[in-house]
Amino acid sequence: MKIISKKEFLAFIDALIEDVSIDVEGVKAKGEKFVFGPLESSDELRLDHDVTILPPKKYFLPQYETMMTFDLSKPFSVERVENPKERVIIGVHPYDIIAIKQMDTYFLDTHVDDSYLQRRKNTLIIGSNILNVAEKAFFGDMGTGFVDSGYDLMLTDMGDKIAIDIGTEAGEKLLNKYVHSLQEATPNDVQKVRTIIENASAKAKRGLLVKPEGWRDLLEKNYNSDVWKSQAEKCLGCGTCTLVCPTCFCYDINDEIDLNLTTGKRIRTWDGCLLRDFTKVGSGEIFRESMEDRYRHRYNRKGRYLPDMLGFVACVGCGRCSSQCIPDIADPVNLINKIAETSQSIKKSEITPLTTEDKLVSATVEESLHLPRPATLKRVEKLTELETFFEIELDDGCPLGHQPGQFVEISVMGFGEAPISISSAPNGNTFELVVRRVGDVTSKLHTMKPGDKVGIRGPFGKGFDVKALKGRDLLFIGGGLGIVPMRSLINYVLNNRQDFGEVTILYGCKRPCEMLFKDEVAEWETRKDIQFMKSVDKCPEGESWDGEIGVITCLIPKAKFDPKSTIAIVVGPPIMYRFVIRDLLNLGMPEENIIVSLERRMKCGVGKCGHCQINGIYVCKDGPVFNYKDVKDLPEAFT
């Protein structure tokens, strides 16, 4: 630990500000409150602040971030936006540093977010120990009032002098560039710093009845508690809690086009699970609609799902959500205590301490997570009123390399990006999509012609485990649009027919005119080595139909298969699952023999933006293909 006089410290800050090669951001006053912002002189810096309105997450995941620019005057021109400017943030409290570590774990895992990484690498963090405790802060209860890594320098303001703990080489370099009169800290100084830290943590205790280690179990056991409803009744759904939270980082991505209709940008912005449209898909369906569900989800994500996924409780006790929630229902202390009061006994779980410094150093990016690859439409065929077929080839000539059941994110620059299931078997240089026209992107796609260009990201998701299906009897049950992803697997199976046992295909739609892949269906009907049946809910006047009439479940008793040994692959609209699965289970099919493909709003495709969550799982990463056994107990899976 080093010591520097206050005067010299302020000179250090002013020297930093003078240096135009580095942006200096620090905590300063805004009215009676505090914010992180650009410093114009050292006397603006307020190391005595209690808490800022927004956490420093805005430096690594900005409120509005231009990810890339595009130019529609060229066939496909997309350019990533770089953020090379070096920057230092001064005054970050320990709990916020821990929150940044949590963000690192999330954004720098297997799919490294290149934008986030660049901002992290360009930023030096100068932390400061807490002098004043905000009214609603409870980092003492959470154990986040102290941190010994994750910063380049850590300051403790002792009045006439500042204690500096050097965290990294970069921090040391910065200090030595401007400061030439550092003294060693005396044991007295070290003790003073320790006392300051302990005092702050002692003050930041608000009687939390259950420590973070117990949140997981508490939340799981009390998923259906009345507390959720009674709290949610007061919730305004305004999104404030997630926006001001240092450990909330869900985002949305939208395209904006300029007045010239030619140039534009793709922008990432903060989003939150408390907002009603968070889980809304193109067709208009909202998968987490009730306020109770949304309110409960936030706590479960922080106290249960993220701990399960990454090993930490995503709450650092800063108190921001609590102090800024207008109806005052966001406070985790109150909520946990309310639930604990009526809960049965709970057990503690493991919380692993975070070490992400190595992640920061080792994380590399081969290609951008967000940048779409140019691809060309080879064939465009209108299948029905609402669905169009596309055959697409990547411009770099490489095959997509997908598994049946996976999906891509297709970009039409200026309109947006949409997740579409891949409909072809993985062979050849091209891949096939069937797109239903529901919104901006899909409507625009429907007007495009062969030769037009689109952007492709992916393939994403967990597809069908083809290896596990080898040698087995298979029963395909496809409802409506569900036939699209299933077709990729069906064609794979039919192409390798000898590798599989009995194959039965059941396909149902609402009406004959909605049937897709008419030619292939005709082929399936004539094949002797598979059993094929089709049905429509009804056959209106003027349409002709030679199959069964009734909902798809009517075909199940007609099909010949051994429920005990057959694997069922079921894909269709949400309502279909309930009835089909019920019928299959009633026939004695084991749960682990049923495979489903679930749909949610998928945006990033890599488990980062948060929109596709079903309780604690990400449909884009853990699915969309699931074994029924793994999802049957998720309350949000089959609504």
Binding site: K30, G31, E32, K33, V35, I53, L54, K58, Q63, Y64, E233, K234, C235, L236, G237, C238, G239, T240, L243, V244, N254, E256, I257, D258, L259, N260, L261, T269, W270, G272, L275, R276, D277, M291, Q324, I326, P327, G414, F415, G439, D440, S443, K444, T447
Partner: protein, 258 residues
């Protein structure tokens, strides 16, 4: 072929059309992507052939209703511009009383107002209470950049990007100090975002001029206002200023239940 756009105004202050002029140099970019065939406030020429009709102002007289219906027939797309057209704005407060009472107060039974179509007001109506509206640009006045975004979306064939979440989202992203903490009573939590929280950013309460979001948590919000010390009367004063349309609706629905 550039789409043809025509602007029309009814009962309003023309401030929303002024915002379009306030696009300044961007007006030149605007007329590159659309052809303005009628805009009474700034040009003499007029044509009855247009693809997009932009309507400012509320509908307050039968003669206005007729004019609007004719416009709707001519246009492929109709845009309601500003609070007067979208929800009725401040003149909607007239609907608190029978229209005859207001006419009496205003014109003192002056005989020339009888049987005179110019004075033949009925209660204030928003544009979609007379004809079908394809796109809305809310606000009093509109945000000119939002108008540009909506127009661009219409020309592209996209759904206009009007948010359906509360102002709080934009206010928080700007790191504003919440006005409730300063002892004020902001309507942000139930009002539609898209204005970038301009009023709270300047220290003034949101007055709801953009209308409510499609699913406002009104009950929870009223509870909050009561908790912070507003009387029922004071709460109603705020809810009736721009957003009387919603109060009217609640009154109507309450009557139906009776």
């Amino acid at each position: 072929m550039k789409p043809k756009v025509a602007f029309f105004d009814f009962a309003g202050c023309e401030g929303c059309q002024l915002q379009i002029a306030n696009l300044e140099e961007d007006v030149l970019k605007l007329i590159d992507i659309v052809e303005i065939v009628s805009f009474r406030e700034i040009m003499k020429e007029h044509s009855d052939e247009y693809d997009i009709a932009v309507i400012e102002g509320s509908i307050m007289r039968p003669m206005d209703e007729e004019r609007l219906k004719k416009i709707r027939k001519n246009a492929k797309i109709l845009v309601a511009l500003g609070a007067c057209a979208c929800i009725g704005s401040v003149q909607r407060m007239l609907n608190q009383w029978p229209i005859e009472e207001s006419k009496k107060i205003v014109y003192n039974n002056f005989k020339e107002t009888k049987n005179n179509p110019y004075f033949d007001n009925f209660s204030t109506k928003a544009v979609d209470e007379v004809v079908k509206v394809d796109a809305y640009v809310p606000g009093c006045p509109i945000d000119r950049n939002e108008f540009a975004r909506v127009l661009v979306a219409l020309v592209q064939g996209k759904k206009p990007p009007i948010p359906d979440y509360p102002l709080c989202v934009e206010c928080k992203k700007k790191e504003n100090v919440c006005l409730f903490e300063l002892g004020k009573f902001c309507m942000g939590p139930i009002t539609r975002a898209g204005c970038d929280a301009i009023c709270p950013t300047h220290g003034n309460e949101c007055e709801g001029c953009r209308g409510f979001i499609s699913h406002p948590e009104e009950r929870a919000y009223t509870e909050v206002l009561e908790k912070y010390g507003l009387s029922v009367e004071e709460i109603l004063q705020r809810k009736t200023m721009f957003t009387y349309r919603y109060v009217e609706k609640t009154k109507k629905e309450a009557k139906k239940d009776e």
